[in-house]
Every structure is written in C-alpha cells, then in structure tokens.
Symmetry: C2
Subunit: 202 residues, 2 copies
Amino acid sequence: MPIAKISFKQQMLKAREEAIVQTVNRLLAEKGFEAMTVDEVAAHVGIAKASLYKHFSSKEELAAAAMVLVMRRAQAFIKALPDHAPALDNLKAVVRWTLEVKLAGDMPSLPSQNSTLRATLMANKDYMDGLMEVSDRLGGWIESAQAKGQLNPDLPAIAILYTFFARACDPVLEFLKMGGLYQDAQIVEMVLGTCFEGINAR
Amino acid sequence: MPIAKISFKQQMLKAREEAIVQTVNRLLAEKGFEAMTVDEVAAHVGIAKASLYKHFSSKEELAAAAMVLVMRRAQAFIKALPDHAPALDNLKAVVRWTLEVKLAGDMPSLPSQNSTLRATLMANKDYMDGLMEVSDRLGGWIESAQAKGQLNPDLPAIAILYTFFARACDPVLEFLKMGGLYQDAQIVEMVLGTCFEGINAR
DNA sequence: GTCTATATCCCGATAGAC
DNA sequence: GTCTATCGGGATATAGAC
C-alpha cells in the first residue's frame, strides 16, 4: 500500500509542522519576534535547527505561520457564532475570545515596526485572506450595531474595528495579571467592560 | 576665567547628551529597542559609536535615559496642571498629552518582555521615582473622580491607571494615522473618547 | 529529512592613538 | 572625549554526511 504509506508519512510531517508552529506561537507570545531565536524553537520542538529550515525557509516564515494559525482560529471562532444573534453579542464574544487567548499566552505579539516581518506577512495569502474575512465580518456587525443604536454611530466603523484588533496586544491584561490580585476571568471582564463602556460612570 | 570655561565645557557636554537622548527617543519610538542599533544612534547624532559609550555604558542605559526623559516630561506636564481643577479634567488632559506625544513620534515603545531592559529600568532611580510620582498623582485623581461619581467606582483604581498607561503604546493611533483619513487632532479625540466613554452608544 | 558542524554576518562593546 | 579599527559573542542560515 504505497499510497497509504505516503499518506501516513505526510501526516507525520504535518503533525510535526503543527508542533513547530504551536511552539513558535507560544514563544512569540512570551518573548516577541526579535527576542525569539530559531535555536530556541528547535530545542523546544526537539529537532535540529537545520531540520526546521527544511520546513520553513526563514525565521519570518516561522512567525508568519504562527500568525496564520491564530488567524485561522479567529476565523473558526467567528464562523461558529450564530449569525442570527444580535451583532453586539457576537462582537463582544469575539473580543472576549481575543482577551482570553492573549491571557492564556497564545497570542503572538509582533512588533508592528519590523519591516521584514511586515513584508512577509503582507505577502502571505493565507494571512491576508484571513485578515480580510475577519475584518469584513466584524465590520458588518459593527455597522449593524451602530444602525441599531447600540454602538456609538459617531465613531467611524474602522476606528471601532481597530479598537478591537488592539485588544490582542493590550498590556493591561499582563499588568493586572502580574499584580496577582484578580483571576483571569475577572481581568477579562474588566478589560471587556472598559472597552465597550469606557471608564466613565454611567 | 577657568570656572566659566569649565562651566561652558560642561554645558556643551550636557547639550550633546541631550541630543543623544533625543535621538534615542525618536529611534525607540520608530523602531523599538531591539531593532534600534547603537551604530544608528551614533550616525544620527553625528559622532563615533565609541564616543557614545563615554556617555552611556550600554544600549540599555541609552534606552533608560530616553525613558527618563519622557517620564520627566510627563511629570512636568502633570505638575503644571491646576490642582484645584476637577480631577477628571486633569486626567483627561494627561491622557490627551500622552496620545499627542505618541502620535508625534516621541513616545518610546519598549518591549515589555525584554528582561535586561526591564532590569536596567527597575534599577534606575530617576525612572522609578518618576513612575511612582506619576502613579500617585494620577491615582489620587482617579479615586477622587470615582468618589464624585464621574469615573466608574466598580473598577479598581489600579485598572484605570493601567488603562491610562496603556495609551502610551496604543496601536490604534498608528492604524488610524496610516489610513490617512483623519487629522491627528481627530484621532486623538476619537481615542480619548473611546478610552473614557467606550464604544457603546449612550 | 535529520543530524553535526560550520559559514557568514551583524551588533554591542572595547583598545589604543591622538 | 573623539576617533579608527577591531574583538568577541551570538544569531541566521547552510553544507554535507547519513
């Protein structure tokens, strides 16, 4: 059964690549792109560095693969949301999901300034397609919620979208977690609350 | 007049150091700590790299000096605010100042993960003292505004303080600026509004 | 495809003349 | 204190055997 054998081999390869990407994801979340070294990734995965380069041609490609992974997860989460539910509920669910992923240490933090990394990401079809789809979906819900008078209609929808995206690198989460005074769930609710309702009294 | 001569020399030195720190500040804002190279700083200032090390003993010290500069500016701004003014007004003024500095490209962005840099900063008395003073001052205003029912009293004051600090690295500003659709002043007001009033409709 | 070993380069930091 | 020239370490990426 040569076909099955090939398929099995490919499956092993795919599993290994997933392990690599998962590792990169964690390291990116912990230390960021510049501080993460390829040696480190190889050590965590348990293979030689040279083997890594058989799967990914550069450090940037590694990071891009991690970003694609997270983007796919976001797409899957969004797709699983009921489309008939109120737009505002779905938006809050997405933001809560983002905060939970970040607090769990699974949200890669990329320096927005790194040019080589930006170039690699922009050239990555999977990533860009995912970004477009997520933006479209959230953008639709934002406008819907604004039309219903739930979200502030004076704000440009794009500003609200960016505000959501920015939750993926909000340092308030880490600050509060470092303080040790609050549980993760409390932190999520606090940040979620300030995001939608602000810090003013009502 | 030997004394005057020495004083003049020292003044030149101080001026040069200020030029260095200013340059570091801009580069940190543009590229971040890891991407910034010491060669680059030297080239921008117009002196040899070795000369830099006569003023600052390491790259971390350079970054710390830039952070101290910004902290001093924040302290000066806060000190200039009328203490008899409503606490909420002063808080908004500080946040607005922070957003303007960041948008102007004068807010150094430090990777919160870099351990050597964190250690250097924590060991820097000027920086830590400044941080304490700023935190105390803002913390007082926050509690005052909460007591008056202007800021949400259900939020821990520390969470509100962190939310303010986080504006110094809010990517929404760059995102909106990159889009080119809004003036800087508009961007500042939008972000300031979402910070205090959230994105929900009122 | 995986490994060991190495090439190559970049960057922080220093030596030493002036 | 400023310069030129250089060291030394560490990181990305590759060569070549298996």
